[in-house]
């Protein structure tokens, strides 16, 4: 537009790849910390004048500077837009992070969650003024209960690990109510998410690990050998973290119930089952759902999550408050333990849970419907199997046979190449992909866990597969240096994590600036 009739033509030069004067590289803008670009007196928000009336602050008025920088609105906008461009995102490309379920986040859900009738509601408004919000929570509960085939759900847990805590606290409360204070041992497979043992310990339980079989599932003989009267329960992920369905799950449930224990199912991978299998038919007593995985609420760079937890009839009386109930078409919250039916174990958070996530998840469920949800599950499982099948001759699947929603590889194909799982992952970054989950689950050496989700087209997967195949071939053919140097095209190269942990610098200080 501004070339005034002087169209540019390509020009070849030896000067490519030089460092720029500014440190920027065209669209890749260098960005300082906000504390290094602001000045104390400026603000990006206009306020009315103060009246300077006498204060009633009780003699503890602030006198010290806080130290916050001040910026105008355009400066703030530019700072965060520049930073945003240093992030990978699902909206940018394939994000096959196993166990994390990086599926498309529909923007209708964002729009719905921002309706003032949901977003601008106070949690302690009189119930008569929030009937629609309580009904929405009731609707969400209905969808969750129908999809899981369970009788009760606690909506308040704020994330998956918080949901685990909810389920395990309900188990502990149920045991306490029976006076079963000898039952303190919880069985946890070696392949479990780290949150499982950490959660059980927060409920006063001890952990007993169960090994996996050669085919990646719970070792039934080992499990039977560990059963005893002191077993409080089991925490089992299904499909498990190897991406495999636990074939013996109903027998496991029977065995655990046989010794008076309870079955906690980690629902992180429920997205492989929705519409095809109801956990309630598998004999479970408690399971959390990750609304941010299975039901597409955005991960937001690490949260917020939402972890509604379904409970069996045996555990429902111990569910936390608040609870949403309706009577004659009028909705209300039961907010105090004394007012709740059963013997609630108490409260897990100040208010009623992640309402913003409830709206998004329900919007996702309504959009898909029972048919769309089932199709999404099937496509997720098909995509994972397609990737596994297409890579199995150049990479090494950890287990034989088909998988569920994620494909697990180990590092046997990298043996003696000098390339490790980490290097392979970093090379994927240069190719424009977010790496898969690395080194988890722990039961597989150099694990690479790929979860494509249902959101990837066949064409996108074919491109991804072609790149992965090429990388595998390069690794085997001795191009080690390329892997060790990677990434070279990311905003930064490999970071020194050891240095960060040895002498932690966790905030900016003026002397540094």
């Amino acid at each position: 537009m501004m070339s005034q009739g002087r169209p540019t033509t390509p020009h070849t030069s030896d000067a490519v790849g030089h460092e720029t004067v500014s440190g920027n590289k065209a669209l890749a803008q260098r960005e300082l910390l906000i504390f290094e670009i602001g000045t104390p007196r400026r603000t990006g928000i206009d306020f009315p004048e103060l009246k300077n009336t006498p204060s009633r602050l009780g003699g503890v008025e602030r006198t010290q500077e806080i130290g916050l920088p001040g910026l105008s609105e355009p400066e703030v906008m530019r700072h965060y837009v520049r930073l945003s461009q240093k992030n990978y995102a699902i909206d940018l490309g394939v994000y096959p992070l196993g166990s994390c379920t990086m599926k498309h986040n529909p923007r209708l859900n964002e729009k719905m969650a921002r309706l003032p009738g949901f977003a601008d509601l106070h949690p302690l408004q009189p119930h008569s003024t929030v009937q629609g919000a309580l009904e929405l929570m009731g609707d969400l509960a209905h969808w969750i209960l129908t999809l899981t085939g369970m009788p009760a759900v606690a909506l308040s847990p704020k994330a998956g690990a918080h949901g685990e805590l909810c389920g395990m606290m309900a188990i502990r409360a149920a045991l306490d109510a029976k006076g079963a204070d000898h039952k303190r041992r919880v069985l946890v497979p070696e392949s479990a998410h780290g949150t499982n043992p950490a959660t059980a310990v927060q409920c006063g339980f001890s952990i007993d690990s169960i090994p996996a079989t050669e085919d990646g599932r719970v070792d039934m003989d080992a499990l039977k050998a560990k059963l005893g009267d002191d077993v409080a329960g089991i925490m089992l992920t299904n499909p498990n973290t190897c991406g495999l369905f636990e074939r013996d799950i109903i027998e496991i449930a029977d065995l655990i119930h046989g010794v008076g224990g309870y079955f906690y199912c980690d629902g992180a991978n429920f997205n492989a089952l929705v519409g095809r299998v109801r956990p309630g038919d598998l004999g479970i007593d408690a399971m959390h759902l990750n609304l941010h995985k299975t039901f597409s609420t955005p991960h937001g760079g690490g949260g917020p999550g939402s972890g509604p937890t379904v409970l069996s009839d045996a555990l429902a009386p111990y569910a936390p408050v608040p609870r949403v109930e309706s009577q004659d078409g009028v909705w209300h919250l039961v907010e105090n333990v004394e007012d709740a039916d059963g013997e609630s174990f108490g409260r897990m958070t100040a208010f009623h849970g992640q309402m913003g996530m409830f709206v998004r998840a329900l919007s996702y469920m309504l959009s898909h419907g029972s048919d769309g949800l089932k199709q999404a599950t099937e496509d997720a499982v098909l995509n994972a199997n397609y990737v596994q099948a297409a890579l199995s001759d150049v990479m090494t699947p950890a287990f034989s046979g088909t998988c569920m929603h994620e494909a697990l590889f180990d590092d046997r194909f990298l043996k003696d190449t000098g390339v490790e799982t980490l290097d392979f992952a970093k090379a994927m970054i240069d190719e424009g992909y977010h790496p898969m989950t690395m080194y988890f689950p722990l039961v597989v050496h150099g694990a690479m866990l790929i979860e494509p989700t249902e959101s990837e087209s066949k064409a996108e997967l074919d491109r991804f597969i072609a790149v992965m195949r090429s990388l595998a071939v390069k690794a085997v053919s001795g191009e080690v240096e390329m892997f060790k140097a990677a990434p070279i095209y990311a905003p930064l190269r490999r970071l020194d994590e050891t240095r960060a942990a040895r002498k932690p610098v966790l905030k900016w200080t003026p002397s540094e600036g």
Partner: protein
Amino acid sequence: MRYLPLNTNDRTAMLDVVGVKSIDDLFDDVPMSARLDGLIDLPTRKTESEVDAELTALAGRNRAAGAGPFFIGGGAYRHHIPATVDHLIQRSEFLTAYTPYQPEISQGTLQTLFEFQTQVAMLTGMDVANASMYDGSTACGEAVLMACRAKRRKKAYIASGVHPHYSATTQGLCQYLDIDLDVAVCAPGKDADVLQNLDKETAAIVVQSPNVFGEIVDLTPYAEAAHAVGALLIAVFTEPVALGAIQSPGEMGADIVVGEGQSIGVGLNFGGPYVGLFACRQKLVRQMPGRVCGETVDADGKRGYVLTLSTREQHIRREKATSNICTNSGLCTLAFSIHMSLLGEAGLRQLAMINHEKACQLADMLCALDGVELVTDTFFNEFTLRLAKPAREVVHKMVEHNVLGGLAASRLMDGQDDLLIVTATETNSEADMRAFTKALEEALS
């Protein structure tokens, strides 16, 4: 289905590559008795406009806080959020990224977390802050667990002015861990009672300022008393804007500071998602729960940021972790941080003083009515009134005039039926305050 890219031809071709005949073959491991035939009994797919209409109708059955005079606080506060905040947090690169496990392609999230931690440390007067917790109440519970770990002691006391839902959440978290947690009965003006309990077995006392009644508590004597017996002071706040007007808990001697960050950038959201702020002294940092971001350099020596101190966390330490927490409030920390960047030092202080002036003005207007008495001599933007009638009844009567006129204390605690907790912020106009005064007068008459 608009969200699913695969078509029938794709599926057939892909099944062929996998080497199975039908999708059912991929679910072979599911026990026969648990296989579902057909569809689950729920409505089938809907168009975008159908879902929009259905949820908009549900939203319409609520009285939005902004749809009339509104004066409720009690742990969640209605403030104006600049349009810039919501625009920026909806950028795909922030909204649809996961936890920054691959730092080379997550510097956007990581740098904002580092800036967030710095802002929280500055605001609370602490040395370090983590990358956030679920909310203020869970942060409070985690702080008590952390104090017990750090001090190797098993007793903790919660003062009478701490938000009852925070106390209950903390009790919930501690109940199976052999911790002797004593929660004082919630009542105004009784915070100092907590000092009577202190002994050499006490790990921490928990004191909130401004407390649930809005009273400002000078934390200095609490810090001194706690330190005298080798215990820690955990300071709690539910209204971060107050820290623009009053001394930081760190200045007053607190060791761990936890609070709700919702006021800055996040919005009411009917209770969540919110953002728990968690800060402490340097010497306690390795006992801190939750994610932490730290500064380092890359292979070329360029400054960059990573998640660090992960040896405290569950994915490394499993049953020996400091907490089972696996997430932070990611996008809410970003909203908080953007709003705080827009405010800056000058803006936050101005916002705080406007809130205080509004509350002073409203308190004077309401206390001029018969049957209304101010219970809290000191306050920031929230204060408590004693009414001549049960507050719950009065609140419901005011709803008839479309006035959400405060929070009956009895919704949160027992035995305080005549107390009304009232909040004013910069969002309240003079007309709102007059409408509230009129509605309260009528409700009391």
